[in-house]
Symmetry: C2
Subunit: 130 residues, 2 copies
DNA sequence: GGGTCAATTCAACAATACATGAATAGTTGA
DNA sequence: TCAACTATTCATGTATTGTTGAATTGACCC
């Protein structure tokens, strides 16, 4: 997983309907769910769903296969996990703050750890030119 | 962290420059980095960077504070980790495939776990109306 | 092959997001 | 107050993305 691949995954996730889609499909495992049933479950028009499905398949987040008249879509969990892993471990270099908060979601999140002035910053007042 | 907040975070991450920004700022910790120095580091025009910075601050991914003439930006690691945690634990319900691949990024990812036909799907051939 | 169902593609439009350079606002030191 | 510096905002044009309904493709059953 590299940056550009992770980028595509995050772009694919940046949409309400697509997050709903992931949430709906993950429990179905490799079996997945037929497009029509997905559309009914999420209350989406067929063409609109198809647009999102193909975008997510392009991003590698979904895999599809035809079964009789239906096309079943399933989440490619490796790809999704890979993007998450890239973000946490490669992009954020396993920063404790990121890793810590990514495990044990529900809890504390509202309080921002407001940074306090550190010596390195105080310097700027004495070094206007750098 | 709820869906809409996570959504905003993923949207904020779905951009090359912003991933670069995260990668640049995470090692700086709470101290962060001045906008001008970020612009130089990433080779971005000031106005363009400012646009991205404010978008990410809106998303809660960055926190800023003024120090003399400079504005320092730092990653809100809790927010970032929170979005990751929501995705893995709440949205994907800690699915083993996602969790497994999200730890130990670099490794196996290319091979898709092609799903095989399951009984539930085979049914569709006998229940055309559902 | 015709009828029917499932899903995708297409064209048209609307809404967002992005990039660029000029102008503006805030801070500092003289 | 002025000049220099830092950062943001604004206006503009462009590109991308999302939505909608109609038309099309593919598969099944008779």
């Amino acid at each position: 997983m590299d940056r550009s691949k992770a980028l595509v995954v995050f772009a694919a996730l940046a949409h309400e309907a697509r997050l709903d889609l992931i949430r709906l499909l993950v429990p179905m495992g490799d079996q997945g769910m037929a497009a029509g049933e997905i559309a009914r479950s999420l209350g989406l028009a067929a063409s609109r769903l198809s647009f999102h499905l193909s975008a997510m398949e392009q991003a590698g987040l979904l895999v599809s296969r035809r079964v009789a008249r239906n096309v079943f879509y399933a989440v490619n969990t490796q790809r999704l996990g890979g993007a998450v892993g890239w973000l946490v471990e490669d992009c954020c270099m396993k920063h404790p703050g990121v890793v810590g908060c990514s495990r044990g979601t529900g809890g504390a999140q509202s309080e921002l750890d407001k940074p306090a002035e550190s010596p390195a910053e105080a310097e700027t007042r004495n070094t206007p030119k750098g």
